[in-house]
Symmetry: C2
DNA sequence: AGGCAAATGTAGCACAGGCTACACATCGAT
DNA sequence: ATCGATGTGTAGCCTGTGCTACATTTGCCT
């Protein structure tokens, strides 16, 4: 039988986007922090996301469960191979969205804020359109 | 004392966007359904959002608590003045985002899907930039 | 009027992702 | 070496948003 072309409802798509959103932002942040300071600790993430360290702990537990990070008591947080891969693609997509907003005339500050949410809802097709727009400039 | 210019962290902004997201989509859907068929029942929303009618009930309860709708047992769902106002602005913003995606070359189907998530993260500044882009076309 | 299908309501469950309060571990400075 | 600050862990709470199972109400058809 042919692969069922499952026509996903658009609201279901948004809910699905949101399920992967925190993972994308966390691995992105972890990669950034590791690049900047060598290691990533829970406090760094609490600072970055403006949440309590407890919330970071619980989120990191889910990321570990899902195979994106490894942890050990009192040790820094490390990305797995899958985590690094997700961080890489997320960073690239985020950057395209950010540059695109700048390109259509949005200011630095609004572009930074808006792209943080928008990035997770940009399909490959829309991402390609944004890239094409940036190239044409 | 001067009003404190509270510099909101970008991740906090995204969390805040998400808190109003369901309300925006629901009042938008309710307004659409009322326009199309006269009244809006819970089943219509369950169909629209592809969730159970129980989930709709609980969401509608929160909307009522927050002053966007009124309900009575076994009666259709009605928007309050605040609900209609929110629906109006949400619809307009949604439409701008949708048309903007079409304008940069995204296909109908991806534009419909992506705009459903993106709309909630578009600041007034970015919305204005999108409108300006559409006008220049 | 009676009965059946559909809509609605309610009870009870799960998980994500927030929080405070408190306990314990680590590490640098003295 | 020890002490205090900082970081980390754990317990227990909350709300939002999803579900299934079951009870009740409504409304339409015969
Ligand atoms: Mn983000
Ligand atoms: Mn919408
Ligand atoms: Mn939406
Ligand atoms: Mn979102």
């Amino acid at each position: 039988m042919a692969t069922k072309k499952q026509k996903i409802n658009r609201h279901s798509r948004v809910r699905s986007d949101h399920r992967t959103e925190l993972a994308e932002d966390y691995v992105e942040a972890i990669a950034d922090i590791v690049d900047a300071s060598g290691t990533c600790r829970a406090v760094d993430l609490a600072q970055q996301f403006q949440v309590s360290h407890v919330t970071v702990n619980r989120t990191i537990s889910r990321l570990e469960r899902d195979g994106y990070v490894t942890t050990a008591p009192y040790a820094p947080i490390e990305l797995t191979k899958a985590g690094r891969r997700l961080a890489e693609t997320s960073q690239q997509r985020h950057e395209v969205v950010f540059q695109f907003l700048l390109a259509i005339g949005v200011g630095e500050s609004a572009a930074a804020a808006d792209s943080e949410g928008i990035e997770h809802h940009v399909s490959p097709e829309t991402l390609a359109a944004m890239k094409a727009f940036l190239d044409e400039q």
